[in-house]
């Protein structure tokens, strides 16, 4: 079959525009913003792909998804086959299709890009994964006969889930230990419903459970059992995917006033605990009228858009550099702008002011200008003397990044971490300084992305399998 169109005709088709909820409406609800492509739109978009022999797009993807391969299957209307093709290297296509920074990865290098707009690879990935799930076409993969080897996975974020999926197929017994009461990591507690519906993450975890993965939620490794105790209990290899869940604060006066949250707290209350539906759910959350979110990453965008949905009259992004340096996905910045978020660029807080009752009522800020590039290559912000001003706020969300949680390194003798607390691994195998202990995702990289965490999980699983079969005698 293949593509019926001539190359030049493919180029005439404009890139698909994702249908989405109207900004004025969606800024007050938690439903997903983009609706997804229709079948017709997906077919049209797929026909734009030139099926390049060298397929540069594949090299743009951290896990080498066979992009032209799955797109050809879409053209053949074999959507489930396309989903399976993606899953050969990426076990979370419904998630990645939604949250991958495609514009910097696969789509950034698509040959259609410069002149005609890149093929909407992310939209297509989402389309086939949703199609497969919604039509109950997900098939249980072949599972190898039991090997008698047991694996423990610490943390159920994208890294841990990927390792679980790979190793269960190979016949190992797999247990995932998760500190929170629901699996999914940042996918459930951090990224909001309007960007990644929780039912999708749940479906992924249910699928793993159907394959035989055992989930032990509400279990904090290091507090309950340590890594060494897990070995003593009979686990033959361990994967650490505990993420980067220690919130950074700014360290400026007034930061412990009521109404100043870390983004982790704000988003966890809203997403995991469903405080947006208080009092139907019991966990409360502060509803701010004038909300300032400090930072310029995805977490900041998620927080500020959550604030709008919880009724904020003014929702500000306060960022010390300029828009060009913001690390958030362009699409999310654009969404936030459409929804009416006000961007205060080149601005940094210096002091939080309380109302006498312990609640924040204002924030003193200073204007910045950009100087020479710093180590990260971005131009360093420098305060402009005397430019201080005060902004009335009743809720502040600090979204300036996370560090790694020290619990596992602290409770695991001989496990090497760097000065930021990130676990050190052999790049090639993801093995740590402890034999049989592997690690990946944010606990190794610091704050990174879903697909990099999943990619680490995939590599780790390959080497864990080798280790289990060759070095663990049964």
């Amino acid at each position: 079959m293949g593509n019926p169109l001539e190359k030049k005709d493919r180029m005439k088709i404009p890139r698909a525009v994702m249908p989405q909820q109207d900004p004025q409406e969606r800024k007050r609800n938690f439903k997903e913003v983009p609706f997804g492509l229709t079948e017709e739109m997906a077919l049209r978009e797929a026909s734009r792909c030139l099926n390049c022999p060298k397929a540069p797009c594949i090299k743009g993807c951290p896990v080498d998804v066979d992009i032209p391969g799955f797109i050809q299957l879409i053209l053949e209307k074999d959507y489930a086959g396309a989903a399976r093709k993606i899953k050969e290297t990426n076990s979370l296509p419904a998630v990645c299709g939604r949250v991958c920074p495609q514009e910097e990865q696969c789509e950034a290098v698509c040959v259609m890009g410069k002149k005609f707009g890149p093929v909407a690879i992310g939209y297509l990935e989402r389309f086939v994964a949703d199609y497969e799930r919604e039509n109950n076409l997900i098939e249980l993969p072949h599972i190898e006969p039991p090997t008698g080897r047991k694996v423990a996975i610490v943390g159920s974020g994208p890294a841990g889930l990927t390792v679980a999926g790979q190793l269960i197929k190979l016949g190992h017994k797999v247990t995932v230990f998760e500190a929170l009461h629901k699996p999914g990591g940042v996918l459930v507690y951090g990224i909001p419903e309007f960007r990644l519906p929780k039912s999708i993450v749940q479906a992924e975890c249910d699928f793993l459970a159907r394959m035989g993965v055992e989930f032990q939620n509400s279990t904090v490794v290091g507090k309950m059992d340590t890594i060494d105790e897990l070995f003593a209990m009979g686990y033959d290899a361990i994967f650490i995917g505990s993420g980067a869940g220690l919130p950074n604060f700014m360290g400026i006066p007034g930061e412990n006033l009521i109404g100043i949250y870390s983004s982790n707290e704000y988003l966890t209350r809203s997403n995991l605990m469903r405080a947006f539906d208080f009092p139907n759910y019991d966990t409360p959350i502060i509803y701010g009228e004038n909300v300032a979110v400090l930072g310029g990453g995805n977490t900041a965008m998620d927080s500020v858009r959550t604030a709008l949905r919880l009724g904020a009259k003014n929702a500000y992004i306060v960022y010390r550099r300029s828009e060009a340096e913001m690390p958030a996905r362009k699409e999310e910045i654009h969404h936030a702008m459409e929804e009416g978020v006000q961007f205060m660029m080149l601005t940094a807080p210096v002091n939080f002011i309380g109302n006498g009752d312990g609640k924040v009522k204002a924030m003193e800020c200073i204007k910045m200008q950009l100087g020479e590039p710093d180590a990260s290559g971005r131009r360093r912000p420098i305060p402009i003397e005397g430019s201080n001003f005060t902004l009335d706020v009743d809720l502040v969300v600090v979204a300036i990044g996370n560090s790694s949680n020290p619990l596992i390194p602290q409770t695991t003798p001989g496990l090497q971490a760097n000065k930021w607390g990130n676990i050190i691994v052999n790049e090639e195998t993801k093995e740590t300084s402890r034999k049989g202990v592997f690690a990946g995702g944010d606990i190794v990289r610091g704050g990174a992305t879903v697909i990099l965490a999943a990619g680490d999980g995939r590599v780790a699983a390959q080497h864990m399998h080798k280790y289990l079969m060759e070095e663990v005698k049964k």
């Binding site: 929170l180 939620n217 509400s218 604060f249 412990n256 009092p279 019991d282 502060i286 619990l407």
Partner: protein, 290 residues
């Protein structure tokens, strides 16, 4: 899901719940806490460990009904289940032989201080126990404490039992009498811990307190539980809950505990108005009055 063995009322607004969580109990130490969620819509509420039955794998928590979730907890029948119970969380209390150690429990604090008293005693300390309540009918855990204390003082604010006055009065007398206390651990309402810490500062006796800020995850992930010690921010769930009382900013703690007062009232009101509300009538009246 963790099974509730029994759940009985032991005071006007105080319940004792035993939960079967053998693995947790095996690992838990005095001074640590757990986080309980009653049902799928529930909050995560931290509760101190008030007893560990290692043989039968049973955890005891003693809780005071102060709002929606603690009220809801009273409705879980013996044999019923909790959505989850995670722990042990926090750093265990520091225990060594100081010669003479003194534990002070006020109000609900008499329960969580008990396992710590046991640990102090086991480490070879002479154990002085001071427990107190507003009034006789609010006092519990007396027998348990009596069984292990070398010296024991009971105080009630209204003088209805033991000596009249605050636990800090009894402590002050000991200190004035020159008793060489090596370590004091106080658990109770924030004002009580503050008074004790302020008092012992003058006598230069190391004094630890167990802090109870609002928490969510209890793993160091959210920072909601931050407290200030000598100007430095700490996360009570992972750095505590025990802290040097002489360094704690009690003002900040008090204020932060009030962060959700209005919403908590709404939640309680909705709960009481629900026709399916299974609270006992007496408790309903008490809570409606709050």
């Amino acid at each position: 899901m963790p099974k509730v063995i029994d759940n009985i009322q032991i005071g006007p607004v105080v319940w004792k719940m035993r939960v079967e969580v053998p693995r947790l109990v095996e690992k838990a130490k005095a001074g640590q806490f757990v986080i309980i969620r009653v049902d799928e819509h529930g909050e995560r509420v931290p509760m101190s460990i008030a007893g560990l039955d290692k043989k039968n794998g049973l955890l005891t928590v003693i809780y005071q009904v102060v709002g929606k979730t603690s009220a809801l907890m009273t409705t879980v029948p013996a044999g019923g289940q909790l959505a989850d119970c995670v722990g042990p969380l926090g750093v265990p209390s520091h225990v060594e032989n100081w010669g003479i150690a003194c534990v002070i429990g006020g109000g609900i604090g008499v329960a969580p201080i008990y396992p710590i008293a046991q640990a102090y005693k086991a480490a070879g300390n002479k154990l002085i126990t001071i427990i107190g309540a507003r009034s006789k009918n609010l006092l519990f855990y007396e027998e348990e404490h009596k069984a292990i204390a070398d010296e024991m003082y009971i105080c009630t604010d209204d003088g209805s039992y033991g000596q009249k006055g605050f636990v800090s009065d009894a402590l002050k007398k000991l200190l004035d009498d020159g008793v060489k206390i090596g370590m004091i651990m106080a658990i109770g309402p924030v004002p009580m811990m503050r008074v004790v810490a302020n008092l012992t500062k003058g006598y230069n006796v190391p004094t630890w307190v167990s802090l109870n800020p609002i928490m969510i995850d209890g793993t160091g992930m959210c920072g909601g539980c931050r407290v200030s010690l000598d100007g430095k921010t700490k996360f009570a769930c992972v750095d505590g809950p025990d802290f040097d009382g002489h360094l704690v900013d009690f003002d900040l703690l008090t204020k932060r505990l009030g962060a959700y007062r209005e919403m908590e009232k709404r939640a309680m009101k909705k709960f009481l108005e629900d026709p399916n509300c299974r609270l006992n009538e007496e408790l309903k009246k008490v809570m409606a009055g709050n």
